[in-house]
Symmetry: C2
Subunit: 415 residues, 2 copies
C-alpha cells in the first residue's frame, strides 16, 4: 500500500529544498530539450490551431514572423495548417512562458538550474507592458522590440552571466521580494528592481556603448515584470523537483492555453488533466470590458503551483489596485490556500502573518474534499489575436480537472 502522506511530504520537501539559480541566457534551439526549427512551444496543455484562442493564435503568428518564416498573419496560419509547424506545450520541454508563452527556436531564454537536484528550467524574456507578443500582439513594433530584446538586451545579459558563472539566486530574490510587497506573479515590482540592480554591475562591463547599457538598464527597471520570467522558470525548476514521486497527490503543473486548463500531479507521471479555462474577473484598462476578455491563459500559474502568486497575496496588499479587491481579501486569499496545501514554505514567508510560510503544495485530495480550487492571479488578454492586454484579475481552475486526476490516481494506486 502506498504511503500517500510520506509521498506528499517528500514531494513538497523536494520543491522547497530546490535552489533555483539563474545561470545563463541562451538561444532556445541550443538549450531547450527537443527544440527544433519547426517547433513552437506554447503555454498550457496541448492545443491545435483550430481550438486555439485569439491571443494564442496571435502569439504563434508573431513568433513565425519573428523567425522569418512568415511575412504576415495569413502566411503564418497557412504554414501552421500545412502541418510543417509543430505545436508543443512549454511544460513538455522543461519550459514555461507567460500568457500565450510562445517560444520559438531563435528566441533567447533564461536558463535556471536547481543546484540542489540538478534539473533545469527555461523561460523566454519579458517584453514589458503595452503591445506584446505574449498577449497576442504581432505588429511591426512588437517584432522590432522582440528583436532588440534578443539581439541587444538578451545578448548583454548572456555575456554578463557568462562572465559571472555563479549566477543570480532567484530563490533568495523571491524570498526578499515577498517581504517587499510582491506576490511573485502579478506583482513583481520589488523583484524586478532587485533583479535589475543585481544585473547592472554585471552588464555594464560587457557592453561597449554606454548609451546601449543605459537603454538596457532603463528597460529592465521600468518593466515591473522584468523578473517574472526568471521567477517562473525558477518555480518550474522547484515544482519539477517535486514531480514524479510515486504515490504523491501534489499538483506539480497548472497551466492554461486560453482554451483549456491542464494540471499534472506528482505521482501520475506526464498525464495532463484538462478542462475549460475560467474567465478572469478583475479590473479592465480604460476602453475595455469583460466582453473583450480571452479565457484564462499562461504558464504563469507555475507560481501558485510553487507556493507564491495568489497563494502569497497576504504579502502584497498593494496589488489590489491592479487586480481588484481589498487588502483584507488579499489576506483571506492566502489563509484559504492553507486549507488545500500540504505545508508552509520554509523559505518564502509573509511578514504580515507573523512570518508564516506561504501555503505550498496543492493536494488534489484536499481540493476535491473541501471543494476549494486553487486561486490564480492573472493578466487578462484580449480575445482577438493582435490586440494585447486589457486588464488583470482573479480566477480559478475548473474543479473537474482535480476530480479527473483523483479518479486516475485511484485507478493507478488504489485498485
Amino acid at each position: 500500500m502506498v504511503d500517500i502522506e510520506q509521498a506528499n511530504k517528500t514531494a513538497v520537501e523536494r520543491m522547497m529544498s530546490a535552489r533555483p539559480i539563474l545561470k545563463s541566457v541562451a538561444t532556445a534551439r541550443d538549450v531547450i530539450p527537443g527544440m527544433h526549427e519547426n517547433l513552437l512551444l506554447h503555454a498550457g496543455p496541448p492545443i491545435t490551431w483550430e481550438r486555439a484562442s485569439g491571443p494564442m493564435r496571435g502569439g504563434i503568428i508573431g513568433a513565425l514572423i519573428f523567425e522569418g518564416r512568415a511575412a504576415n498573419a495569413a502566411e503564418a496560419e497557412a504554414l501552421v495548417l500545412s502541418g510543417e509547424i509543430e505545436l508543443s506545450p512549454c511544460h513538455e520541454h522543461d519550459a514555461v512562458g507567460p500568457m500565450a508563452g510562445v517560444t520559438s527556436p531563435s528566441m533567447k531564454v533564461y536558463v535556471i538550474e536547481n543546484v540542489t537536484h540538478g534539473n533545469r528550467a527555461y523561460s523566454n524574456l519579458n517584453e514589458g507592458y503595452g503591445k506584446v507578443l505574449r498577449y497576442g500582439a504581432y505588429s511591426e513594433e512588437v517584432i522590432a522590440k522582440l528583436q532588440w530584446m534578443n539581439d541587444v538586451m538578451g545578448k548583454a545579459i548572456a555575456d554578463a552571466l557568462d562572465a559571472n558563472p555563479e549566477g543570480i539566486d532567484i530563490g533568495t530574490l523571491l524570498a526578499e521580494s515577498l517581504h517587499m510587497g510582491d506576490e511573485g506573479h502579478n506583482r513583481n515590482k520589488a523583484g524586478s528592481l532587485i533583479f535589475t540592480t543585481r544585473l547592472a554591475p554585471l552588464v555594464v562591463p560587457v557592453v561597449e556603448d554606454s548609451r546601449v547599457t543605459a537603454e538596457i538598464l532603463r528597460f529592465l527597471a521600468e518593466n515591473a515584470l522584468s523578473v517574472l520570467n526568471p521567477v517562473m522558470a525558477a518555480c518550474k525548476a522547484m515544482a519539477d523537483a517535486g514531480h514524479g514521486v510515486e504515490g504523491s497527490t501534489i499538483m506539480t503543473v497548472m497551466a492554461r492555453n486560453g482554451t483549456d486548463l491542464g494540471i499534472r500531479v506528482s505521482g501520475l507521471g506526464d498525464q495532463w488533466f484538462t478542462g475549460p479555462v475560467g474567465q478572469p474577473a478583475g479590473l479592465y484598462f480604460p476602453g475595455f470590458t469583460a466582453e473583450d476578455a480571452s479565457g484564462d491563459i499562461g504558464d504563469s500559474t507555475i507560481t501558485e503551483t510553487a507556493g507564491i502568486g495568489a497563494f502569497a497575496m497576504a504579502s502584497a496588499p498593494a496589488i489590489v489596485t491592479f487586480i481588484s479587491g481589498t487588502p483584507e481579501d488579499a489576506l483571506n486569499a492566502t489563509l484559504e490556500m492553507y486549507e488545500i496545501t500540504e505545508t508552509e514554505h520554509t523559505r518564502f514567508t509573509i511578514p504580515a502573518l507573523g512570518f508564516r510560510g506561504t501555503p505550498t503544495g496543492v493536494d488534489i485530495r484536499k481540493v476535491v474534499e473541501l471543494g476549494i480550487t486553487p486561486r490564480i492571479n492573472t493578466g487578462i488578454a484580449h480575445k482577438d489575436a493582435g490586440v494585447g492586454q486589457v486588464g488583470a484579475g482573479l480566477t480559478r481552475p475548473p474543479m473537474s480537472v482535480f476530480e479527473d486526476a483523483l479518479v486516475a490516481y485511484a485507478g493507478r494506486y488504489l485498485m
Copy 2:
C-alpha cells in the same frame, strides 16, 4: 485671537503639498547657506565638544581628518577646543544628517528642491553599513571610503544629475516604497533599489571607466540605506514648508545629538526646546548589549516629523526582524500616531490599512494632552568614539520638550 486649527491645517497642507525633487549633488561649501571653512554641521540641537556624546565626537574627529585639518583624534580635539572650529546644527542650515550627521565644507551633499514652495534642503551621502563616520568611526578605512564616495561616486551622481536637470522625484519614490515594505527611516530597502535603478541609466553615460560604473552601481544597490539621505533631505524640505505658520502648534523639527533631543514648532520660530535623549530599546548586533549604546542620536527623525518612519511602521512589517517587536506592534505603532497628529497624508498611504494616509503633523497640544510622545525608529551607535553601529531599535523623545514648547506657545499667543 489666533485660529490654531486653521494655522495647523495650513502648516500640514504645506508639508503635504511640497514636492521634493533631487536636483543635484554639490560640494557643501558651494551650496549650504552659511557654510564656511571652519564650520562643521552636526545632528540635533546645538552642542559643545564638552557635552558631546562619543559618536558625535568621533564624527567631528573623522570630518577634520577627512578635511585634512587634523592627522588624528588628539589634533582634532585640540583644534575644536582652540575655538577655531565652529559647531552648528545641520537644521540651522537647511540641512539634515543621519546619526552624528557631521557635515564638513568639502563633503558632497544632495540638493533637494521643493518645487512647490521653492525652498531647498541638503544632506550628505550615505556610507552604508559597518564602520562609518555617522556612527562615530574614523579609522583609515572610514576616511578612504568617504574620499571614494566624494571624489568618485559623488562626482558621478553630480555629473549624472547635471545632465538630467529634471532630477529624481523623491516624494513619488517614497510613496512607492511605502507600498513595498519600507517605512522610509530604518527600512529603505525598496527605496534604495528604486533610487539605484533611476540613477543607473543616468550614471552610465557620464563615467568613462565601466569598472568604476559597476563599482558605483554595486555600492548603491548593496546599501539598503542609499536613499536614506535624499529621503531625509526631502522630509526636511517638506517639514520646512510647514514651518513658520503663525499660530501653528505643529512640530516641524525633531532631532538628537546623542546628548539632547530638540524640537521646533511651526508657530514658534527658530527656538529649540531641548531635553535629555532617550536610550533606544532594540536588537543588538552579536557581541554588543545595551551597555554599549550611546544615547539617541541623529536628524533622521525628520522622517517621523514628515509623517513616515515609525509613523508608517504598518507599511513595513518585515522591519521587526531588525528593530524588534512583532508585525502587530508595527500596525499598532502607526495606529497610535494617529492620536497625536493633525491629519492623514494625502500622498503617503499604507496598503495594509486600506490605503489610509500616514499620520502626519505632530500637534504638540495632543502630545501633552494625551501623554503620548512621538515614536522613533533608530539605529543605535556605540557610546564611544571610533566604534560604530551596535544595533537598531525604538525610542521616544522626553515629554518635557513638548511641555516646554506648549508653555512658550501660551506665552506668545495666549497671554
